[in-house]
Each structure stands twice: as structure tokens, then as C-alpha cells.
Symmetry: C2
Subunit: 329 residues, 2 copies
């Protein structure tokens, strides 16, 4: 059988993880990497993979079955998504929640016109967590769903820390509050404030000359990022940061509870939980499973934009329908 | 909008739970109950629902959109499924794993010919657990998936206990072994025997004249049911059994772990967990969500048999695609 030919647009953490993920999927092969830096600026981990600049994307339509967008959601994906969707089957992890409906509509129109199939906003949140929210809401109509993130590194919050004067380097962990998890798992369906759900723990490398007290003050009062949370600030050395906080672990859980019975006498909880050593690796593997789905849907003539909830689980699998029925149902 | 008209075949625990579940779904209405006992032998919880014998199933094709099979998988569903599939959209919870492929094929042929859509083997296992196994296997190709059941009441094992001479009544709980859960969650992908995964705890009401030691011996050595497990037997009074063990709680978890990275250096775990006060209530609610899916798929002309992994999550929801994208992705 011919392999599914994968292209990667953007060769940062996520692009590198997709490259490694392709090697785990026997029905896929990596054909090319596209990066702003081009071949001169990029050395792939897999030998022999050609690297092109973004200009070359338009020239490979006969060589690539599914393109995976691995740039950032702030500027890269909104710009590249429509361009790629007009030429290729595509998978992205667009995660700017407020803009998903308009981005989806744009990609849908372009891909439909081009006869291509695009999976928008895959990954784990949005992605697997979205699926869990939809299933739980459908199964427990009298219920409530909560999403918790962490323990994990937030890139956005780490970046915000590094913009504080006097901070040389930093890493921020988002951590669910244990009491909130317990309350939700009990089925009591509590009302929870932002502060009650998550806390934020910062590891900060400060300049020798910096005033630590004012750094702490500035972090804890930073609007949007920290002021609504209980925030802990730990000063450590650059060596400690490099040694103990180099990874990008993440995870979280979608927990739903609901009642059933003629008098609401029975309570049920559904929990979908992820513990990830590497946020980009896991995201990449989800995107690759949806690349398989996009490829198969397109072969069936099912074109346009989809989100993860529009795609049946079996499309993600390389196994036959018979094998799934025999061994997985 | 017209409501989805539901029929129930079989009015035991599951049928009663479906009846209660329909009331939670604003887009559904219960039209009729079919039972071997007929109207004289059945009193529904909802006033005004007509009850018919099974003979009447064939006469209601213009009044019912989706029929839910609520009988047992041993004899009822294999007999009723093909009969109903030739006339109605249908949802069942057929759970005799070894026979799912042949049952699926039979229902598929009949429903395709009739232009109907049938969801086979829904519920939670098979059902939501099947979905979790397929997603995890697709996302973590280098990985391993484990299914644990409990803590919960096993009807089959409780029945087996009640067949032991000297036992008047009994309830059996299946319980995952904590050490096995820990090992699996750690990502170590252990090999586990049947005994290492689950233990069995029995609450037994014995006749006054019975020899308790020989009852314990007979239980612990019973092949298939108990001999492969560590089994605990507790003698209690009928009053205690009625008071403390009247419910049908269940649950369990599908836990997958896998590695990623060029050198398998990152480990991930995915856990889908259910804690259910009432096994039949939860099963019923899953079946109702798939009744909605069967109805919608049929309207789109997508006929034949499906399992839960063949159906996109959005079909289970009463919400619009726009609402799902805006609030759930």
C-alpha cells in the first residue's frame, strides 16, 4: 500500500515532534519540511528530508497528501492555513478559541472549493478535550463539565515572566487545585472561580542586581496572566532552571458529572485525563492521527473543514473496520 | 421541531433507565414499550405510555423513529436485533464480545436492505470504552492499553453465586487491584495476569443449615468466574444485603500509555474513567445519544450497521455544529 505522504510547515518544537511521530506510523512517510529559514537554516533530525522555504509550498501538490501546520496560532496558522487549505488536505492545531468559528469558515470555503479536507483545531485542547466535552454533554444532559490543565508548562505565561524587567529566564507551571478536583469528582457540581481551579508556580532566574520583592509584586499583580490566581514565585539559578525545568510536560483533565433517574437520584462522573511528558510530542501524534483521517475522508469525497468532533474515531486508526470490531469494541 | 420518537423493547432495569433518560433529552419522546409480558404485566413509570407485546413491534413502523433494545445479550438481543433491524433504526448494547462481528454482519445486511441505521454494541463497555481504546491506539502507536472494571456489581457473577447450594442471595463486586492501576499509570506498561488486575468481593446470604466453609471453597474454586482471581467472601444477613448492596453501581477505566520521541524518551498516559451510581442508567443515556446519531445518520441516507467508533462525536449531540465549535472545541 502507498504510504500517506506528509509535509510539515514550520519546524519548531511541534514540527520536530511531527517528524518523530511520522516514524511511529508505518503507513506514513515524511516528504518535506517547509520553514521560513529554508534549507540553509534548518537541520532535520531524520537524514535526507528536503527542507524548503514557504514559497515552495505551492509547488508540491503532487507529492504531498496531507500538510501539517506546526507554526503558532497567533500569526503563523491564520496566515498559512487559508493558503495551504486551497492546495492540500491539511491538519492544524489552531487554538485561539474565540477565533475558531471564523477561521473554520474561511478554511471550509477554500478547501471545499479546492476539493480538499482540512482538520482544524486538532491536538489535545482543542482536540481530545473537545471530544470529551461533547461526548459527556451528550450522555449526561443534566450535568456539568469542567476542564483542568496541568500540571504543565505554559509557554505563554513563561514568555510573560521573561518580559518582566530583571528576569533573565523563567518557566511557569499551571497546576489544578486539588480541592477543586476533589469537589468536581464527588459529583457535587460546584461553582468554581478562576482562582479556585488553578494555581500558578513560577521558577525565575533574576539578574543579580534585580530587586526580588518588586519582581514578585509585578508578577503577582500582572493582569490576565497572574492576578486572578494564587501565584508562587521561586528564584533559582540558570543552572537549576536548565537542569530541572527543561522539558515541556503538560496534561490535564476533563471531568463531567451529571445525574440520572426519575428523581435525579443517581450521580455519574466521567473523567478524561492526560499526563504528558512532552506537550508537542503528544500534540503531534494527535495531528498525525487526524492526518490519516483527512486523507481517508478526502478519498471518500468528504471535503471541507472539519473539527475533531466531526470525525468518527475509526478514521484515526490504521486498522481495518473488521480488526477494530474484533479486538477493540 | 419534531421530536425523535423512541420505542423500548424489553422493560427490565435497562428499559426502565431508558424511560427515565428520555425525559432528560428535550428532543426525544417515548412512544411505546414492548415487553413479553404485555400491558397486563407491565406498569411504566411514566403515565400514559402504551405497552405492547413483542408481536406488535412490526406494526409501529410509522410511529417510531428509533427502537432501543433493552433485553439481555445472551438470548434477547441476538433474536430481536435482526427482527427489529429489518424494520427500524435501532440501538442495542450487544456485549457478547466474541459474537460482535457475526452479529454486526447480520444486522448490517438487514438494515441496509431496509434503508435503516443501526448502532450495535453501544453503552460503556462495549461503547465509550471501545472509543477510548481506538483513540488511544491511534494516538500512541507505540503503546499499550489496559481496561479495568469496577468497583462495580457484576450481574453475571452475582448470578453464579446464587446458583451455589446453600446460598440464598448474593452480590459480587469486581474491583481493580490498586497496585496494577499504579503500575499502568506510571507508564511502565507491565504484563499483568488476570489475578493481578482485578479482585472479586462477594457478599453472601447463606441458609442457616449451610456449611460456610464449603461455600467459600466452592466459590473460590469456581472455574471461569472466580478461580483465576483473589476472591473475598463475606457472609451477611438478607437485611444487610438489601440495605447496603441494593444498587447497581459500576465503572472502570481504560488506561493507555505509550512513548514518543526519536528515542522513545517521552512517556504519556491517557485515562478514561467512569464512576457510575447506576450501570443501567448510564448505559441507557449512552444508548439514547446514539439513538439521536442513528436518527440523524439515517436522515442523511447513511444506512446499515455501525459501531460507536464509526460515528462522529457531533452526531450524539443535540447542539448545532456552530454551537459545538463556539462553546465546546
Amino acid at each position: 500500500m502507498d504510504k500517506i505522504r506528509i509535509g510539515i510547515v514550520g519546524y519548531g518544537n511541534l514540527g520536530k515532534s511531527v517528524e518523530a511521530g511520522v516514524l511511529q506510523n508505518k503507513d506514513m512517510e515524511l516528504v518535506a519540511v517547509f520553514s521560513r529559514r529554508g534549507a540553509a537554516g534548518v537541520k532535520t533530525a531524520t537524514p535526507g528530508i528536503p527542507v524548503y522555504t514557504l514559497d515552495a509550498v505551492k509547488d508540491m501538490t503532487d507529492k504531498i497528501d496531507v500538510m501539517l501546520l506546526c507554526g503558532g496560532s497567533r500569526t503563523d496558522v491564520p496566515e498559512q492555513g487559508p493558503m495551504v487549505a486551497a492546495l492540500y488536505n491539511m491538519v492544524d492545531g489552531f487554538d485561539t478559541h474565540a477565533k475558531i468559528p471564523s477561521y473554520f469558515a474561511e478554511v471550509d470555503a477554500l478547501s471545499r472549493k479546492a476539493g480538499k479536507t482540512c482538520v482544524v483545531s486538532s491536538g489535545w485542547d482543542p482536540g481530545m478535550f473537545s471530544i470529551s466535552r461533547v461526548y459527556a454533554d451528550a450522555i449526561l444532559p443534566v450535568g456539568k463539565t469542567y476542564t483542568f490543565w496541568g500540571k504543565g508548562v505554559s509557554q505563554g505565561h513563561s514568555d510573560a515572566l521573561r518580559r518582566v524587567p530583571g528576569i533573565l529566564d523563567a518557566k511557569q507551571y499551571t497546576i489544578p487545585v486539588e480541592a477543586a478536583l476533589e469537589a468536581v469528582r464527588s459529583g457535587s457540581a460546584p461553582e468554581l472561580t478562576t482562582r479556585e481551579k488553578h494555581k500558578r508556580v513560577c521558577y525565575v532566574v533574576a539578574a543579580d542586581s534585580a530587586d526580588r520583592a518588586s519582581i514578585v509584586e509585578e508578577i503577582k499583580t500582572m493582569p490576565d496572566y497572574f492576578s486572578d490566581y494564587d501565584t508562587e514565585v521561586n528564584f533559582i539559578s540558570q543552572e537549576e532552571l536548565n537542569r530541572d525545568h527543561a522539558g515541556l510536560p503538560h496534561g490535564g483533565m476533563v471531568i463531567s458529572s451529571g445525574t440520572t433517574g426519575l428523581h435525579g437520584e443517581n450521580t455519574h462522573t466521567i473523567e478524561y485525563r492526560l499526563r504528558l511528558d512532552s506537550n508537542p510530542d503528544f500534540t503531534a501524534n494527535v495531528m498525525l492521527a487526524y492526518a490519516r483521517a483527512a486523507f481517508c475522508l478526502n478519498r471518500e469525497g468528504n471535503t471541507g473543514a472539519k473539527t475533531v468532533v466531526d470525525i468518527a474515531p475509526a478514521y484515526l486508526s490504521s486498522r481495518s473496520a473488521e480488526e477494530l470490531r474484533k479486538d477493540f469494541i
